[in-house]
C-alpha cells in the first residue's frame, strides 16, 4: 500500500436519490492508491449505487466525488478506459463466444491485436476457461460467465477495479483462480500504468475484511 499521500478515491457528502427516495446519503471516504476497500451493508444500502457512481455510470445527486484525480461527474470522460467494472450483469453478448467478447472489448479499448491475443489467452487460462472460450456465452453456466466477465473487467489493465460481488456464482476453485486477476492490488498477476486500487462490494463481511485495507459500511441510505 502507498503512504496515503495520493488518494485514488475521495468522497465528501456523496448522495444519490432515485426520485424522492434517497439510495445513498452522506458518504465520506478517502482511499489511497493501491489500497483495497471493502464495501459492506445490507440489501438496499446503496453499495451497487456507490460502485456505479464511481464507475461514472450514475451521476451523484449531491456531494463531491474525485476518482483517480478526476472530478465526477464533470470530467467523467477522462476516466473512460481506466476503470475495470464488474457488475451484477456480466456485460457479455450471449451470441458471441467468450473469446469473441474479449476480442471485441480489446478493440473498443484500442489494445493492439497481438497484445490483446496474448492477454486474452493468458487470462482465459488463469480463470480456467481456455478450452471453452470458443463456445457461445449462451451455452455457459453462470459461473463460467462470471469467469469471462472477470477477464473482460481487467483486459485493459485498469487503474481502478470496481467489483460488485465478484465471487457470486464462482466455485471455490474459481474464486482462487480469479485472485490473480481481481484480488488485492498486491497480489495481481498483471500490471497497469500505475498503482491499482480496488473497491469490492461483498455480502461476506469476514472474507471481505480479511483482504481489505479499509472497510466502508453502508446502512440503508447512509454510511455507518
Amino acid at each position: 500500500m502507498s503512504d496515503g499521500s495520493e488518494n485514488a478515491i475521495r468522497l465528501s457528502g456523496l448522495g444519490r436519490d432515485y426520485g424522492d427516495r434517497p439510495a445513498l446519503t452522506g458518504v465520506d471516504l478517502e482511499l489511497p492508491a493501491d489500497a483495497s476497500l471493502a464495501v459492506l451493508g445490507p440489501n438496499g444500502s446503496g453499495k451497487s449505487t456507490l460502485l456505479r457512481i464511481l464507475a461514472t455510470l450514475l451521476r451523484p445527486s449531491r456531494g463531491e466525488v474525485s476518482v483517480l484525480g478526476t472530478e465526477l461527474p464533470k470530467d467523467a470522460w477522462k476516466l473512460r478506459g481506466r476503470i475495470g467494472y464488474l457488475g451484477h450483469q456480466p456485460m457479455l453478448y450471449e451470441d458471441l463466444s467468450g473469446r469473441e467478447n474479449l476480442e471485441f472489448q480489446a478493440r473498443m479499448y484500442g489494445i493492439p491485436a497481438a497484445e490483446a491475443k496474448a492477454r486474452i489467452d493468458a487470462d482465459l487460462e488463469v480463470v480456467g476457461m481456455g478450452r471453452r472460450a470458443g463456445d457461445r456465452v449462451s451455452d455457459y453456466s453462470a459461473g463460467m460467465k462470471q469467469r469471462i466477465a472477470i477477464c473482460r473487467a481487467v483486459l485493459h489493465r485498469p487503474r481502478l477495479l470496481l467489483l460488485d460481488e465478484p465471487d457470486s456464482n464462482l466455485d471455490p476453485e474459481g474464486r482462487e483462480a480469479a485472485r490473480s486477476l481481481i484480488g488485492h492490488p498486491c497480489d495481481l498477476g498483471w500490471e497497469s500504468d500505475g498503482p491499482v486500487t480496488r473497491v469490492v462490494v461483498s455480502h461476506d463481511p469476514q472474507g471481505a475484511r480479511a483482504e481489505a485495507d479499509q472497510v466502508l459500511e453502508l446502512r440503508i441510505g447512509a454510511a455507518a
Binding site: T56, G81, M91, Y93, E94, D95, F104, M108
Partner: protein, 226 residues
Amino acid sequence: MTPSRQAFMAVVGKDLRIELRTMRSLPAMVLFAVTTFIIFRFGLDRTALSGSLASGVVWTTLLFAAVLGINRIFLAEREEGGFDAFRLAPVDRAVLFAAKAAVLFLYLAVLELIVIPVFAVFFLQEWSGLLPLIVILMATNLGFAALGTLISSMAVNSRARDLLVPLLLLPLVVPLMIAATSATAPLLDVGGPSYDKFGTWLLVLGLYDGIFCLVGYAVFDFLLED
C-alpha cells in the same frame, strides 16, 4: 481514446456477426415485406401497379418492415449490458450512433435487395425505373437509419418500446415518406421512368438525412446518460 474508426468497425462487425449467427432481424423484415406484397396483390386485386400507387405500396411496406429492425437495433445492448460496457470504454459516444445507423442502413439495403425484385415480379410491367430507384432507396435508407437509431435509443429503456418506436417514429418520418414516394412515383410510370422533380425530391431527402444525422450526433451522448 480509442480511434473512432476502430471502435466503429468493432461495433458494426459485432452486430453483423450476431445477426448472421442468430438471424433475428433480417428474416423477419423480409418475411413481413413479402407477406405484405402478397396481401396487396390480392387485396387490391391488381396484377400490375404503376405511378403513385406502386410507390405507395413499396414505401408503406418498407416503412413497416424497417420498424421491425429499428425495434431490435439496441436490444442486445439493453439486455446484455452493452450500454454500460460502451459507456465505460474510451470511445466517443457518437461512434455508437454512427455504427448502429450503419448497421440499420445495411439491414435496409439487404431487405430491399431481396424484396424489391419480389415487388417487381408481383406488380411491375416496366422494370427500367428500378435502376434510378436505387438512388432514392439509398437516400431514404440513410434517413431511416439516422432517425431510427435515434428513436430506438430513446425507446429501448422503456418497457413499452415496441409501442414507443412506431409512435415516435411515424410522425417524424412523414416528410421522408412524402419525398420518397413523390420521387419514386414517376420512376414507376407505365411508359417508363420520368424524372419530373427527381432532383428536387432527392435534395429534400438529402436535407432530411443531413438534419437527422446531425441531430443524432449532437444528442446521442445525452441519451446514453443515466
